[in-house]
């Protein structure tokens, strides 16, 4: 294991350009240290990014709330800016991991790790969060809903890092929201099913609906077919059989040590019904 400690982003680009492969970033350390313990990273080049000043802070810029990638879950939950504009995040992440892990774990690390069960992911997805990716040639933006393409596979190229996460400040204006994580206990639990939803109803009809799920596919995702089916409908027009058929196309739950696939499907369906009916 080799260790590098860039002082800023430019330094980071220079260091990563010189390393051919096996690059791993260390921020809060809550995921990577478990891999190290299991001897999975003996050949790794560890880049300690926790000090990069460009990746820190929570602030407002025009109509956006900006989270530096190194924002910890504790900082996010306690942020007055988040409580004011995006309470969906601060209210629902209270039970993320544990109070101890909330101190260290970073949002950027959670996104980069890309666990299909990550608590925050369905929330970021219904909020249409944008990721600012920094690379030597400059920064570019990618929507969180386009970021993953497989189990723990994302579109970050070598030498790039997630710099910040941007969410529309008014994303929660005039909408009703839903978030439920189903786990075996309150804290320190990995989700069996997570559903996040955001819905705007006008004249009794669903004008807009964003739904995202975790723990039901190889990566967390929105449910675009179900969203399209529900849009424009009144509650009475929603057909349960149709809902089931579409949901079966969009989620691929598996049976593992945490629960059975049938259970996961039923719970997901029930959560969606709780929200829309």
């Amino acid at each position: 294991m080799k260790f590098f400690k860039p002082a800023n982003l430019n330094d980071f680009f220079e260091i990563t350009a010189k390393i051919k492969k096996n690059i791993y970033f260390l921020a809060g350390g809550t995921d990577i240290n478990v891999q190290i313990k299991n001897n999975l990273l003996s050949e790794a080049n560890i880049i300690f990014i926790n000090n990069l000043p460009e990746l820190k802070g929570i602030y407002q810029e025009n109509d956006q709330i900006v989270f530096g990638a190194l924002t910890t879950f504790r900082e996010l939950i306690n942020s007055s800016l988040v409580k004011k504009h995006l309470p969906l995040l601060s209210d629902n992440l209270q039970n993320f991991a544990s109070p101890l892990i909330q101190t260290s774990a970073t949002i950027g690390g959670n996104i980069a790790n890309g666990s299909p069960t990550a608590d925050i992911m369905p929330l970021l997805m219904i909020l249409d969060a944008n990721l600012i990716i920094a690379g030597k040639a400059g920064s570019h933006q990618i929507n969180i809903n386009d970021f993953y393409h497989g189990y723990k596979q994302n579109k970050l190229n070598k030498g790039e890092v997630i710099k910040e996460i941007r969410i529309n400040r008014d994303a929660l204006t005039d909408v009703s929201t839903f978030y439920q994580k189903v786990g075996a206990r309150k804290t320190l639990t990995i989700a069996k099913v997570t559903l996040a939803g955001l819905m705007k109803i006008t004249h009794g009809k669903i004008e807009q609906i964003n739904l995202a799920v975790g723990s039901l596919n190889e990566y967390a995702r929105r449910l675009p077919q179900l969203e399209a089916y529900l849009t424009g409908k009144t509650k009475q027009q929603i057909n349960l059989e149709k809902l089931k058929t579409i949901l079966a196309k969009e989620i691929t739950p598996i049976s593992d040590l945490r629960s059975e696939k049938e259970y996961r499907f039923s719970v997901c369906l029930n959560l969606i019904r709780t929200f829309v009916e």
């Binding site: 240290n33 313990k37 926790n50 544990s98 101890l100 892990i101 260290s104």
Partner: protein
Amino acid sequence: MEIKFILNKKAVTIDVDPMKRLLDVLRENFGLMGSKEGCGEGECGTCTVLLDGKPITSCITNAIHAEGKEVLTVEGIALEEDGKLLIECFDETNAVQCGFCFPGFLVSSYYYLQTDGDEDLEKIKTALSGNICRCTGYQKIFDSVLLACKRK
């Protein structure tokens, strides 16, 4: 790599692998055996210490994370007023069974007493939710912290 930090209120410098676990640094480099290794994956909380005043699991924290920061371990907390109060209350309530989880509970309880301190069972449960007691003696642990909040 040379790493400087404040350990239990004293400035220290060590030459250490920056990836060495903070838990091992405390136990091996400084002989502070209070922090224990339980799961080694951040789930049980028996290795809890305060880093810049906030509770972390030192088994999934590296030496480099301590650089330039303040680390307060259960040994340091035991010398503080709130630490002494908590020990007294844990003692009176007979909250400690096998004792393995106790250092972590003491650190999390100390943090709660310092930052909140309300005599509120639900708040205390949340504050201690990152610490696991496999003797399952939670009620007496909560009683101890409630008593400490009352006496403070």
